[in-house]
C-alpha cells in the first residue's frame, strides 16, 4: 500500500506540518524508549487516545458542521463498556473485546437516536439535546453507584499479558523492561493509529465530501439529492463509535474508569480547545492540538516549577510562575493561539505554504 493510500491522499500541504506530524508519529511510536518512565509513557498513551477522540470530534464539527456536547459521553460509553465487562465477566481478552464492542454499539445507537430525533431541525437544537443527554447520563452514572461505582468509578483487572507482571525478556532492552505494560502501550498506539487512519479515510471518501458540502450549504446539498438528515446522523454515529473505541482503549490502559477520566464536562471543553487550537476540518489539527494540549496539561506544572525556582530572586514573579497557576498559563496559551491562528495551527501552516 502506498503512502498516499495510507493517508488517503490527504497531503499535509505544508513542510513544517509534515515534519511536525512525522516527529509526533516517531515520538509516539518510540515513546517507551525515547521517554522512559511511567509518567511520560502515561502521557504518550493519553496523547494517542486523545488524538483519536479529537479527530472523531473533528469529523462531526469540522467536516459535518455539527456542534455536539455529548462527545465525552460516547467516550465514556466505550470506557465503561470495557470496565463493566471486565468486572462482570472477569479479566480476559474476551471481556475487553466484548466490552469495547458493546460500548461502541451502544454509542452508535444513542447517537442515531439523538440524530434522528433532533438533526431534522436547526443545528442549535441538536447541540442543546446533546448537552441535555450528556448531563443526564453523567448524573445517571454518578447515581447508579451499585453498577458504575458512582463518583469513585470502577477498578478492574485486565489480562496479565498486558500488565507489568508479564515479563517477555530478561533484563532490559535499551533501558526498558519488555513486559506486558509495554505491550499494552503498543496496543494503545496501534489501535489509535488504525482508528485515526480510518477517520482520515472517511473524511476523504465520497461520504466525507458530502459532509463538507452539507457544512457549506445544506440547502443546496439537499437540492442535488443528498438527504441531509441521513448524512448528518451517519456522521454522528461514526464519530460516536470512534469516540467509544478511543474510550475503550483508554480504559484498557488505565485499568480504571470514573466520571473524572471519561465523562467529565471539563474533558468536553478540552476536546473543543484541542480541535480549535489544531485547526477544525483538517484531521491533522487533531494530532497537533491533542499532542500540544495533553503535553502542556501534564508538563506545564513542572515547567512552571522550574521557572519559579529560576526566578526566585526576583520579587513577585515567582508567584506568577507558581505551579498552581498552570491553568492560568494554559488559558493564556489558548487565547494567544486563537488570536494568532484563527484557523488553527494547521490552517496557519498551510497558509504559509
Amino acid at each position: 500500500m502506498s503512502l498516499g493510500a495510507l493517508i488517503s491522499g490527504d497531503r499535509p500541504r505544508s513542510r513544517l506540518l509534515a515534519a511536525a506530524l512525522i516527529a509526533i508519529l516517531i515520538g509516539l511510536a518510540l515513546a517507551p524508549f525515547l521517554f522512559p518512565g511511567t509518567r511520560s509513557v502515561d502521557t504518550a498513551a493519553r496523547v494517542c487516545v486523545f488524538i483519536v477522540l479529537v479527530a472523531s470530534y473533528d469529523l462531526m464539527l469540522g467536516y459535518g458542521g455539527i456542534v455536539s456536547f455529548a462527545h465525552t459521553m460516547f467516550f465514556g460509553m466505550g470506557a465503561y463498556g470495557v470496565a463493566l465487562a471486565s468486572v462482570h465477566l472477569g479479566r480476559g481478552f474476551d471481556a475487553l473485546a466484548l466490552g469495547s464492542l458493546a460500548g461502541a454499539l451502544a454509542a452508535a445507537l444513542l447517537a442515531a437516536l439523538i440524530g434522528l430525533f433532533s438533526l431534522r431541525v436547526r443545528a442549535i437544537f441538536f447541540a442543546m439535546i446533546t448537552l441535555a443527554v450528556a448531563s443526564a447520563v453523567a448524573v445517571l452514572v454518578s447515581q447508579l453507584s451499585a453498577l458504575t461505582g458512582g463518583e469513585d468509578g470502577l477498578s478492574y483487572r485486565i489480562p496479565r499479558a498486558l500488565t507489568a507482571a508479564a515479563k517477555y525478556a530478561d533484563g532490559k532492552v535499551l533501558g526498558v523492561r519488555i513486559n506486558g505494560k509495554l505491550v499494552n502501550y503498543y496496543l494503545v498506539f496501534t489501535v489509535s493509529l488504525i482508528l485515526f487512519m480510518v477517520l482520515l479515510r472517511i473524511v476523504n471518501s465520497p461520504f466525507g465530501r458530502v459532509l463538507q458540502a452539507i457544512r457549506e450549504n445544506d440547502f443546496r446539498a439537499e437540492a442535488i439529492g443528498y438527504r441531509v438528515v441521513a448524512y448528518r446522523t451517519a456522521a454522528t454515529c461514526l464519530s460516536a463509535v470512534a469516540a467509544a473505541l478511543a474510550g475503550a482503549t483508554y480504559a484498557i490502559w488505565l485499568r480504571y474508569v470514573g466520571p473524572a477520566t471519561t465523562l467529565n464536562f471539563e474533558i468536553m471543553v478540552d476536546i473543543l480547545l484541542m480541535v480549535v487550537i489544531g485547526g477544525m476540518g483538517t484531521m491533522y489539527g487533531a494530532v497537533i492540538g491533542a499532542t500540544l494540549f495533553v503535553v502542556a496539561q501534564n508538563y506545564l506544572q513542572t515547567l512552571l516549577a522550574a521557572a519559579g525556582a529560576a526566578l526566585a530572586p526576583v520579587p513577585a514573579l515567582p508567584l506568577l510562575f507558581n505551579p498552581d497557576r498552570w491553568l492560568l498559563w494554559l488559558g493564556v496559551l489558548f487565547v494567544l493561539s486563537v488570536y494568532f491562528f484563527p484557523t488553527g495551527i494547521v490552517g496557519r501552516l498551510r497558509q504559509r505554504q
Binding site: 461520504f207 463538507q212 450549504n217 440547502f219 443546496r220 446539498a221 439537499e222 437540492a223 442535488i224 443528498y226
Partner: protein, 254 residues
C-alpha cells in the same frame, strides 16, 4: 394530457392570508422549453419551489410522468428527475469548482455513502465533472475555490450543477442574470440543447425578452400567483394581459 412529463394540478400555496401561487394547472411536455414570466412577486420562484419541494403545497398536486411527487422530500424529488438551479447563486463556496460538480455526479450515481474509498480515486466521477465544466467553459477554473470565482463564473457554475444532474425536468431561474454579455450566449446555447435530449423538459424563469424569444417554445404568464396566459411566444407577448401586467411595466422602467 397523458404525454405530459411534468404537470401541476390546482397547485396552491398560502402564506397566512396571502395566496402566493393560486390554483395553477399546467402541463409540460418533453422536448419543450417553457418560459415562465410575470412581474416581480408574481409567484414564479414560489411556483418553482413547490415543484422542487422546498416549500410544501397548501393544495393541489405535482405530477412527474403521472406520479404524484407532492409528498416527497427535495432530495427524493431530485432523484426522480426534478433538477433545479437557483436565482441567487447557491453553491458550496469553500470547495473547489470541480468538487462542486463532482458532488452532483456522485449524488446521481448514488455513491454518497461510500465510506472507505478515496473520493479522488473515482476517476470516472472526476472525468464526468470535467466534461461538464468544459461545456460551460469553466475547465480552466476547475481547481479554484468557488468563493474566489467572479460573479459571472459563479452563475455559470450554477448552470453547470444542474446540467451535471441530468434531470428529466430542468428548472432554471434567470440563468443569465449577472453574466457577462459574451458569456450568456454560451449558456443559452447549452440550455437550448437540453430539451432536445429525449424525455426532458426545460422550465425557465426569465425577464429578458430577447432570451425568451430565442429559447422558448411556449410562454406561461403568472400574475398575482395565478396563470394569466399560456401559449406560443408571439401570441402571448402580443396579448393584452401581458402588455398590461408585465411588459407595460418593463417598458416604463426601460
Amino acid at each position: 394530457m397523458t404525454d405530459a412529463l411534468l404537470a401541476t394540478e390546482d397547485l396552491t400555496v398560502r402564506f397566512g392570508g396571502h395566496v402566493a401561487v393560486d390554483h395553477v394547472t399546467c402541463a409540460f411536455r418533453p422536448g419543450e422549453i417553457t418560459a415562465i414570466v410575470g412581474p416581480n412577486g408574481a409567484g414564479k420562484t414560489t411556483y418553482f419551489n413547490l415543484i422542487s419541494g422546498q416549500i410544501p403545497a397548501s393544495e393541489g398536486r405535482v405530477l412527474l410522468a403521472g406520479e404524484d411527487i407532492g409528498g416527497l422530500s427535495v432530495a427524493a424529488r431530485t432523484h426522480r428527475g426534478i433538477g433545479r438551479a437557483f436565482q441567487l447563486t447557491n453553491l458550496f463556496p469553500g470547495l473547489s469548482v470541480l468538487e462542486n460538480v463532482r458532488l452532483v455526479i456522485q449524488s446521481r450515481r448514488g455513491m454518497g455513502f461510500s465510506l472507505f474509498s478515496m473520493a479522488d480515486s473515482h476517476r470516472e466521477l472526476r472525468e464526468a465533472a470535467e466534461a461538464v465544466l468544459a461545456r460551460v467553459r469553466l475547465a480552466d477554473q476547475a481547481s479554484q475555490k468557488v468563493a474566489e470565482l467572479s460573479h459571472g463564473d459563479q452563475r455559470k457554475l450554477e448552470v453547470a450543477l444542474l446540467i451535471a444532474l441530468e434531470p428529466r425536468v430542468y428548472m432554471f431561474d434567470e440563468p443569465t442574470a449577472g453574466m457577462a454579455v459574451d458569456e450568456a450566449p454560451v449558456v443559452l446555447e447549452l440550455i437550448a440543447g437540453l430539451a432536445q435530449d429525449t424525455g426532458r423538459t426545460v422550465l425557465l424563469v426569465e425577464h429578458k425578452m430577447d432570451v425568451i424569444a430565442r429559447l422558448a417554445d411556449r410562454i406561461i404568464v403568472l400574475h398575482n400567483g395565478a396563470l394569466a396566459a399560456d401559449g406560443a411566444p408571439d401570441e402571448v407577448i402580443a396579448s393584452d394581459v401581458v402588455q398590461e401586467a408585465y411588459l407595460g411595466r418593463a417598458v416604463q422602467h426601460g
